[in-house]
Symmetry: C2
Subunit: 463 residues, 2 copies
């Protein structure tokens, strides 16, 4: 694509170097070892926002700081609250990366680094749109508040309190989040539903200590064997989750939605090839988009126990561990799901074993009203920037803040994804294409412009 006339190649080059500087911070929020880097990244984020023309505040929390910026120079115009996060997922397994995960590499038109898509690359599009609009026009079409947090990847634990204590400072007409992917390359989309999440860790114990598998093998309970058997009882052969009352609050998929999903043209072969799978496996009777967007899941995210180093050790392990997660939809309540999972696992646990579980995080699912004026403005921004008509879609991932915006601030959230499903977020070689970063900046500028135009004091405020 072509940059607008008033934006020079030099502007773009500066933008890219600023984004790369941001990506160099290993702001991994889940691992305490990275803590100094996460804090340094927070400070850099605040400095960048200030440099781009926002009045910036660093809100300290019991976890990582939340950075707030605002430009309120347009009295009477609507206020957009843009949300993103500066923290990232862990980079491991590091050996599978083509570059150091925190040393951005540009290759074949892709910017490769941890955070390139999720979420620094995408939130950067909005920050740079603000910078370019302010520098070339001296103003913005709407008032803007920007909130960038550092705990999204660990469940945004301290953010709800910030929403409560800073509700006045965060007052806005609508929220805007770019933390979901477009439907496909060159097919922009707006997302109208998000899944919730329950993430738990479980530990099973069968013995006081590891035993020699020769001397005791055959008579004593193996903790891994027990864990394997328990995990295997969570789903049946058809992929249906066996936890009693788990599906309470899961909405039926309407025939309209089912038809719309099928009109999106999902290519199974292409999808399998993109993810390197030789087959798909999901809940029977549902379309893959339904399985990924509108149905709940149970997945094992990690497992460990016994001897896992080089060579062999003939032990019967006394303990085994797993990290598991459930994605939730519609009106499923994560707190009820946690209780039901615990009840089920304890009921299934044999008498010779004991289990403890720990909740790592949880989040409510969310739906978005697609009739909001800002949705139309976002559609227009995407349409102009990509030259393609955007579509509506769902999203299987979780952005806890979206449910909180609605519950605590009364805000609808526009989910304007700017990266691609194949951008390997949370995995090695996370990327975002340079073209989509440029289009993202343009789409953000276009959205703000369109939202500013559709607004007039004679119209009622949006709901």
């Amino acid at each position: 694509m072509k940059l607008p006339d008033h934006i020079t190649e030099s502007d773009w080059s500066i933008a890219l170097s600023e984004l790369c500087a941001w990506l160099r911070f290993p702001s991994v929020s889940t691992d305490p070892e990275y803590s100094p880097h996460v804090h340094a990244c927070a400070q850099f984020t605040a400095n960048l926002m200030t440099q781009y023309g926002l009045t910036t505040t660093v809100i300290e929390t019991k976890g990582y700081p939340v950075i707030l910026g605002e430009w309120m120079g347009h009295p009477g115009a609507p206020t957009l609250l843009i949300y993103g996060h500066y923290d990232v997922q862990p980079p491991d397994p590091v050996s599978l990366w083509v570059t150091d995960p925190f040393e951005p590499l540009i290759k074949d038109g892709q910017l490769i680094a941890r955070g390139a898509s999720d979420n620094k690359g995408q939130i950067f599009c909005h920050l740079k749109a603000i910078d370019w609009l302010l520098r070339t026009t001296g103003t913005l079409p709407v008032n803007v508040k920007v909130m960038i947090e550092g705990e999204e990847e660990v469940g945004s634990f301290h953010l709800p309190e910030v929403l409560r204590t800073h509700a006045h400072q965060l007052a806005a007409d609508v929220a805007l989040v770019s933390d979901t992917p477009m439907l496909a390359d060159n097919q922009p989309s707006l997302c109208t539903s998000l899944r919730g999440l329950v993430y738990m860790e479980m530990t099973i114990t069968t013995l006081a200590g590891d035993l020699h598998s020769g001397q005791h093998g055959g008579a004593v309970p193996n903790a891994i064997g027990c864990l394997v058997s328990l995990l295997n009882r969570v789903k049946d052969e058809s992929g249906r989750i066996q936890i009693p009352h788990f599906y309470e609050g899961v909405p039926d998929i309407s025939s309209d939605r089912a038809a719309q999903i099928r009109s999106l043209g999902f290519d199974t072969g292409q999808y399998q090839s993109a993810i390197g799978a030789s087959g798909l496996v999901g809940e029977e009777g549902f379309h893959p988009y339904e399985q990924r967007w509108y149905r709940p899941t149970f997945d094992i995210n990690g497992i460990w126990g016994g001897y896992t180093l080089e060579g062999e050790k003939t032990v019967i392990p006394a303990q085994a561990h797993a990290k598991v997660s459930m994605r939730l939809v519609g009106h499923q309540d994560p707190l009820k799901v946690i209780d039901r999972f615990n009840e089920y696992i304890q009921a299934q646990c044999p008498t010779y074993a004991s289990i403890t579980t720990r909740v790592c995080s949880y989040a409510y699912p969310a739906q978005v009203d697609d009739g909001h004026p800002a949705v139309l403005a976002a559609m227009q921004g995407l349409r102009e920037s990509f030259g393609v008509e955007p579509v509506f879609q769902g999203e299987g991932g979780t952005i806890p803040i979206v449910a909180d915006f609605k519950r605590q601030l009364g805000l609808e959230t526009i989910l304007m994804g700017l990266n691609l499903p194949e951008d390997r977020i949370h995995a090695p070689n996370e990327q975002m294409s340079l073209a989509n970063i440029q289009r993202g900046i343009m789409a953000s500028m276009g959205m703000m412009t369109a939202y500013g135009k559709c607004w007039s004091p004679s119209l009622p405020s949006p709901p």
Copy 2:
């Protein structure tokens, strides 16, 4: 117990300090990082044997050296081949030890260190018996050869070749091994059967790389889920292994043997309490001693996949791994078992996954002729040293060399265990009691003396 009159407290004190010096070498054979320590330990072993009066040779192999020592000063007397190993299991999890695993600690009459029982502590009893006999009498009742290897914990990979190339140097009348436990504290026993082993590692792959569990969860195959399901299909609810033809070569347990086993007086409650289990689980219809000595097993020794570090990572793992092992009995052939395991796992593997397996090691099971004159001599040595009548028992562990002694050198092997089942070999806080180290030295001296006496040129050689 009391030391014999001709052995002073000072002799015992020196013995203990020599054993501790040996235990300080972290001679972990399975992990290449320890390689320099294993080699240093081999040299120390050779020096110790020389110091004790043996003519010592270091046999280099493609792995770790085998140390051979001999005293052949008694022409016409029988020759005993004593076997042991100077390598040890890995110490992890190190945090569960009460001492540095390679800094021996004496506490409540126990010597605590990795290798205290398995096998440095036990083989030391024979070495010190030789030393004390030679120093106090100037001779030995029999000719003695000692072979101490450094790869027992990784399947004695290079030892069969040493047996072939050094068959003449190893020629003997009977072998003696102390690498099995006594039946119980103060209940010495001779072991008449050993289980074999197949130890394998398996890797399952379902995707080209890890995926975001939100964006893709519900539609794509999870490698851990797949591994868990496969592992769960190896045994049925009654504990019976489902691999076709797996039980070929497993002998029925005779009614005599079953009666003898039940006469040993197994106390389930005491056993559970000793291992910290709140229940036992094994193949239905068999006594715990039968399950542990005379029945084959399948155990998962290690499992890992996905995110296993601190906190959470919402991935669908592309790969998952397990270490599994099978103990074999009677005439089960490890090579056939490997093939059958592979066939079963591949047949059970769903089309959307691929599995690779790797054999880490294997060993044949072995039986010992309990009518051998050296068995009677060993019984006498134990009887005198412990003041208790020894019993016969089986052993669930594996000593590959015992089958090789029979197959390659034509030797019967006397299995004279000197440590206890609760000595935590292969686990944190491995120990051997000082009393049993002393009794072990006495038993070895008594066994050599009795074997020397029962021998006369007028009797035929043992078979």
